[in-house]
Symmetry: C2
Subunit: 210 residues, 2 copies
């Protein structure tokens, strides 16, 4: 691969997340017009409406076309697949609107699960009862059983996830918009906010399309 | 204690749950008038509006007045406290609109946590994305990492809770409206749908008020 500037974009439900050779930045789905970009750009997209637009633009190249999808399941998000492609041996915790947890062992995808993200779960507790309307305590000591309501819901949200994730006895890789928050709980995890981009680059290089 | 008929009532946010000497039955909060009962009745109540009504009725006796609350925390639900009073050594999983998990070791309350119930969590996933709008699969094999969306959310909801609950290495007691469903996951748990009533009886007998 030549050392050219490669423009990457990971498109979610609410924003375009760009990475160029220098830095990463986000644009709101509603405010950004993709045809304004004239350079070649490699993307993945989980947003159906945006996908339809991008198909018509020749310089937007869908990275998902170059993945061997037989290793994954049909409805698995392309962002999760890219993260998995980036690692050989790890549990990937991608903390966004949902928290997706994917297990890769000796370069093989073992499966994964989906847990609610911070915002969704906070709303869930508040909907059950106004008495459970708290923000989560990320400084919670996971070794102590809670004896107050805020810690009781924080433990319910965080310790259950933590116990499951560490049970795989694999290195933990944290990514996604809420990765910094979860790092307080997963103290030994490695933070890699560009993990999905790393996966996209790996796929592009392997497919020799750039 | 004499072998008289004791009428008990556990009042939640949506229903009055009665137990007499023969059986248990429920009445809707909005359809039932507590002054229609003239017999002596022992109750606990988490519903503030109903509590105000019952305070005025002499034959309705609030069991919470006879509990040593110093062992618990201030905002802990009286239903959870009664369940804890009923056991010596167990993890109590009370599966209702929330799933409360309380740990009792050698007659000592160690603390507990609160997890969302089935209905609330189903709505949470659906709100995150229409692609996650599924019912939970309670026949899920917890030893297999999911490779489809329904199992991925079922595992996220159930396996995380399961891993945490079994980590206490104590007998598991299941109660609450959704106890039957959770029994499919907690296969070794003991089902006791009258656990809260058992706790109320224990408190009444200990206080020698009947």
């Amino acid at each position: 691969m030549e050392n050219t500037i490669m423009l990457l974009c990971d498109i979610g439900n609410t924003s375009y997340h760009f990475l160029n050779d220098r830095d990463s930045y986000k644009k709101d789905i509603d405010d950004f017009e993709p045809s304004d970009i004239r350079d070649k750009i490699y993307y993945i997209c989980v947003n159906e409406n945006v996908s339809k637009k991008l198909e018509k633009l020749d310089n937007w190249i869908d990275v998902s076309d170059f993945i061997d999808k037989s290793k994954y399941y049909e409805t698995m998000g392309i962002d999760r697949i890219c993260a998995v492609e980036a690692v050989n041996n790890a549990v990937i915790v991608d903390a966004g609107s949902a928290v997706t947890v994917d297990v890769v062992k000796n370069e093989e995808f073992k499966g994964g699960f989906i847990y609610p993200g911070i915002k969704a779960m906070k709303q869930t507790y508040a909907n059950i009862s106004p008495a459970l309307e708290y923000s989560f305590n990320f400084d919670l000591d996971l070794d102590i059983m809670p004896k107050n309501s805020q810690d009781a819901i924080s433990y319910g949200f965080l310790k259950t996830l933590y116990s499951e994730v560490i049970s795989f006895k694999l290195p933990i890789l944290l990514t996604g918009g809420d990765a910094q928050e979860f790092k307080k709980i997963f103290k030994k995890a490695e933070l890699d906010e560009n993990l999905i981009f790393d996966g996209m680059k790996y796929i592009i290089e392997k497919a020799d399309i750039c």
